[in-house]
Every structure is written in structure tokens, then in C-alpha cells.
């Protein structure tokens, strides 16, 4: 019997027990009222899961509250998509351990905690906070600083928190350009703006009859979490892989239940020092390519390196640790585990890798640089593609404007 079946069986049994308990005996209150009462003081989980009866697999999953009492856990999103929040639920049955170990005090996507609850806490009261998403507006920054202050361990969780991620590509424009495009040029907004005497833009403060209203201010430059506050650990990925979350949870469980040491500060959880190519099972023949293709344009060879087939894969410039699920599935690596330890620029490493992919031509000594530019222009949008996760943390983290000479 698999673990899953056992768990299902366990819950089924627990469910039957609860049904039995729900049959009202004579002279007793109706079940609903009784249940309401019991929910107030004793959690149902304790009533139906006496630890002695648990099979060993479940014992490991449901270790009960830690010796020092449940820790406090928070998970917050900055400028992100919510995928990181959901990734925490990807750990399947291990979420039960999280529930045994920790009280979720703040996690906007999942539980109803309020900012004022966090503000009312003591400094360092939250044991661990996972912060995902980049810092793109004043609210992100405020919440990140607040959570840093209230948390003992702050984890920069996911590609956006680590390097700005995809929201970081907004650094190629500024707020004015973005607002202008979104609120006047997009088809739906254009139709609306045409009905106005002059373009209407959202304001960050508004005087309503009930009082002044504020919405967050959008920043020109998207930043990573550790540009703003001190960060204890990093978990790369878009979103982080189950295996990384396992390592993080394992470290926390070891620390909380057995007092084992946490990893050294600054550790990249679940990541390797090598590049993805080291991990990728595809066979590398170091072929040269004449033409860049998309995976859907060719019959992708299941065993051969994607680069050898002309598909631009960011694996050579990306840190390993994910287990290369994308390349195994014949999709090129997008680079969400960021640059390797030895370099600071993921995109620059990729430029080198891609440039070497193109063959030296017979007439190479005689062609000029314009011809080379033409060959290389097959690579569309190298900045947006090779820096798609790390732009906000790269050496030059935003677009510039030439002012011109005298």
C-alpha cells in the first residue's frame, strides 16, 4: 500500500469516527452545537489522531507540535505572480508537517492575516518568513521592511525576490512610459481615454469624502529583496522546485524539533554550483548551428542537446539544482535558477555560449562586422531573453538614456 493510500485510509477512518461522534445521544445537544463548542478549545486534529495509533510514515509527517511550541510562519508576495505561494502547496502531504510545526500568521493568498496583525507583533516574533516577488512599489518595500523587522529568518523565495525576475524587465522602461502605454495605448484603455477630454491616470492619493485614500507608488526601478533588506537564505526558481522546498523544510524541521544547526547565512537552498548542462541528461555533441529554431518548428530529438538542435536554451548560463525538468520535456531552459556562483551576469555568460554556437564560416576572414551582425541578429531580443530573470540584479540593472555630447 502506497503512502498516499495509507493517508487516504487514515482520513477515511478519521472521518468515520467523526460521523459516529456526530450521532446525537439522548439528552445531548445537537451535533452542530457540540462541534462548535469543541472547536473552540480543542482542535479536531488532536481528537481524531492520537499519535500512538499512527503508522510510522504518518508519524514522520505529523510530528505534533515542536517541543518549544509551534513556530510562527509567514509568506508574503511582492511583485510576483502568486506561483511561489502556490509552490508551497506543491509539497503534497508534507504540508501536514508544516501545519503541525507552524502557525501561519500571515499569508495573504491563503490565510486571513492583516498587516496590522504583523505590525502589532514583537520584533523577530515570526520565526520564518518567505518573501517572494520583486520590490516594485512602495507597498512591496514597506512590507518587506516590516517583515524583516518582525522575522527571525527571512528567506528570499523565488527568482523575483532574488533577482527581480520577470517584473525586473520593467527596468527597460520607466514608470511614465509604462503608465502611458497601459493607460492610453492599450486598445481597451484607448477606447476609454477617447471619451475623456484629457487622459486620465490613476493617482496615488485621492481625496474621497470619507478621507484621503492612498495607493502604492510604482517605482521606476524594480529591485531584488536583498537590495532593500538583509536576507538570510535564498531559494531560487520560478517557482522553486519541490526538492528545494523539501531541503528548506528539512532544515527548519531539524532545527525546530531537534535543535540541529541551520545552514550558514546566505545559503542558496536546493541549488548547485554547476550549470544546468551538468545535470541535463541530453547528449552534447557541441554541434554548430546555422539557424535558430523554436521547439515547435522541428521534431525535437529526445536525446540530443537542445542547443545542438538550434534551440536557444539558457542552461549553459544557469545554475543547476532543479533537475532539468524543462529540457527533459524538450523545452529550453529559461534560466530561472539564475547565474552560477562563478559569474555575476547570467545574460553575459549566455551571450558567450550563444556566440560560440555559430560556426566559423569559410569566408570568415573576408567578411566584415556588418555581415556578422546580420548572422547574430537571428537572436531576437538578447537582453529580454537572456536576462529574463536577472535583469534587476545585473551589472547594469536598468535602461539608460544617452544625453548626447556637446
Amino acid at each position: 500500500m502506497g503512502l498516499k493510500d495509507k493517508i487516504m485510509g487514515f482520513f477515511k477512518k478519521a472521518g468515520e469516527k467523526m460521523e459516529e461522534a456526530a450521532i446525537p445521544a439522548k439528552n445531548e445537544k445537537p451535533a452542530a452545537e457540540k462541534a462548535e463548542e469543541s472547536m473552540d478549545d480543542t482542535p479536531i486534529a488532536q481528537e481524531v489522531s492520537p499519535k500512538a495509533e499512527l503508522p510510522p510514515e504518518l508519524k514522520a509527517l505529523l510530528p505534533g507540535p515542536p517541543p518549544g511550541g509551534k513556530i510562527k510562519f509567514a509568506h508574503y508576495w511582492g511583485a510576483g505572480c502568486g506561483g511561489c505561494d502556490v509552490s508551497l502547496l506543491d509539497i503534497n502531504e508534507k504540508i501536514l508537517t508544516v501545519n503541525d510545526m507552524a502557525d501561519v500568521v500571515f499569508w495573504p493568498i491563503a490565510v486571513d492575516g492583516k498587516t496590522k496583525d504583523v505590525e502589532a507583533m514583537e520584533d523577530g516574533e515570526i520565526t520564518v518568513t518567505l518573501f517572494n516577488g520583486a520590490v516594485r512599489n512602495s507597498e512591496n518595500e514597506h512590507m518587506l521592511k516590516l517583515l524583516r523587522q518582525k522575522s527571525t529568518i527571512l528567506v528570499s523565495y523565488g527568482a523575483c525576490a532574488m533577482w527581480g525576475g520577470m517584473p525586473g524587465l520593467a527596468n527597460l522602461h520607466n514608470t511614465k512610459e509604462i503608465m502611458d502605454y497601459v493607460y492610453t495605448k492599450t486598445p481597451t484603455m484607448k477606447a476609454f481615454q477617447d471619451t475623456q477630454s484629457e487622459p486620465v491616470f490613476p493617482q496615488t492619493t485621492y481625496q474621497a469624502p470619507e478621507g484621503e485614500l492612498h495607493i502604492p507608488v510604482l517605482y521606476d526601478t524594480v529591485r531584488a529583496a536583498d537590495d532593500i533588506v538583509d536576507v538570510d537564505y535564498y531559494v531560487p526558481g520560478c517557482p522553486p522546485m519541490q526538492t528545494s522546498i523539501d531541503v528548506l523544510l528539512g532544515a527548519l524541521i531539524g532545527h525546530v524539533y531537534h535543535g540541529s544547526d541551520l545552514p550558514p547565512k546566505g545559503t542558496l537552498i536546493g541549488a548547485s554550483e554547476k550549470t544546468l548542462c551538468e545535470e541535463c541528461p541530453r547528449k552534447k555533441e557541441n554541434r554548430r548551428i546555422e539557424k535558430v529554431v523554436e521547439p515547435h518548428e522541428i521534431d525535437v530529438d529526445p536525446d540530443l542537446c537542445l542547443m545542438d538542435q538550434g534551440i536557444i536554451c539558457i542552461g549553459p548560463a544557469t545554475r543547476a539544482g532543479c533537475g532539468s525538468p524543462c529540457t527533459i520535456a524538450a523545452q529550453p531552459c529559461r534560466g530561472c535558477y539564475g547565474p552560477t556562483g562563478a559569474v555575476s551576469e547570467q545574460g553575459a555568460s549566455m551571450l558567450t555560449a550563444v556566440a560560440s554556437l555559430f560556426p566559423v564560416l569559410d569566408n570568415d576572414p573576408n567578411i566584415d562586422e556588418d555581415e556578422i551582425m546580420k548572422i547574430m541578429s537571428q537572436i531576437k531580443d538578447p537582453l529580454g531573453y537572456f536576462y529574463q530573470f536577472s535583469l534587476a540584479k545585473s551589472l547594469i540593472n536598468r535602461a539608460v538614456k544617452e544625453k548626447g555630447g556637446k
Binding site: 558567450t352 547574430m376 531580443d381 539608460v400 544617452e402
Partner: protein, 139 residues
């Protein structure tokens, strides 16, 4: 800002051709502006795009990469790699909003002291025309 814009240019010279060419220009006492700092690399292909981005990020107004002429590379094909890499990097710089003329690739052999002189003088003139590195004012 001072009246006269005095650019700072980083020149990556390959050990086998261009560095010797620069040496030749010096020995021949050819006059040229003093706005450049030479960094000697073993090959033009040793110049990682990261080096150039790093130079620009630190405020260099221009970067020039000098290598052996095509077919003359000491390592047979280093300069062929370098020119493809620089082409890509130029696209990246353009996307950032830099004038791509801030990055230049030239071939200077060990005997071309005069070409080194004219190349550097021209490049520094170009950079003077472009004005300071746009990143500088942000800092």
C-alpha cells in the same frame, strides 16, 4: 560637470597582436590622446561580455576590444568567436539604450602601431561626440 568632457576609455588588447601594436605605437612615439587604459588579455576571445558590462557599469565612457586580424589569431579562431560575441553584446547595449558606438571592435596587428594610433584617436573622438556614459549621472 567640467567644461571639457574628458572621456575614460577601456581598451582590451590581445597579447599577441594588438598589445604589441600598442607597444609599437609607443616606441614610435606616435601622438594620441591619453584617455584610454589598456587591459591586456591573452586573446580578444578572452574578453567576456561581463568585463565590458562591468567597465560600463563602473563608468567607462567607451570600451574598445582590439584583436588580431581575422585568420591571424594566435589561437586560430579566437577572434571569430569574439566578433560574434561583440555583435550580440552590441544588440544588448542598444536595448539598454546605450549608443552601440560605445563598444568597438578593431583588428590591430603587432606591426600596426599607426593603425593603433588612428583607431584610438578616432574612437576617443567618437566618444567625445557621444558625451559621458549615461550611467554616470544616475550615480
Amino acid at each position: 560637470m567640467s567644461e571639457e568632457f574628458d572621456p575614460k576609455v577601456i581598451a582590451f588588447c590581445c597579447n599577441w597582436c594588438s598589445y604589441a601594436g600598442a607597444d609599437g605605437a609607443g616606441v614610435a612615439r606616435l601622438q594620441m590622446p591619453t584617455n584610454f587604459r589598456i587591459i591586456r588579455t591573452m586573446c580578444s576571445a578572452r574578453v567576456d561580455p561581463e568585463h565590458i558590462l562591468s567597465a560600463l557599469a563602473k563608468g567607462a565612457d567607451g570600451v574598445i576590444v582590439l584583436g588580431c586580424h581575422p585568420a591571424d589569431c594566435h589561437y586560430i579562431g579566437g577572434n571569430y568567436r569574439a566578433r560574434r560575441r561583440m555583435a550580440l553584446l552590441r544588440f544588448v547595449l542598444e536595448e539598454y539604450g546605450f549608443d552601440p558606438k560605445r563598444l568597438r571592435l578593431e583588428w590591430v596587428s603587432a606591426s600596426e602601431g599607426d593603425k593603433f594610433q588612428t583607431t584610438m584617436s578616432e574612437f576617443i573622438d567618437d566618444i567625445k561626440g557621444l558625451g559621458p556614459n549615461p550611467l554616470k549621472e544616475v550615480a
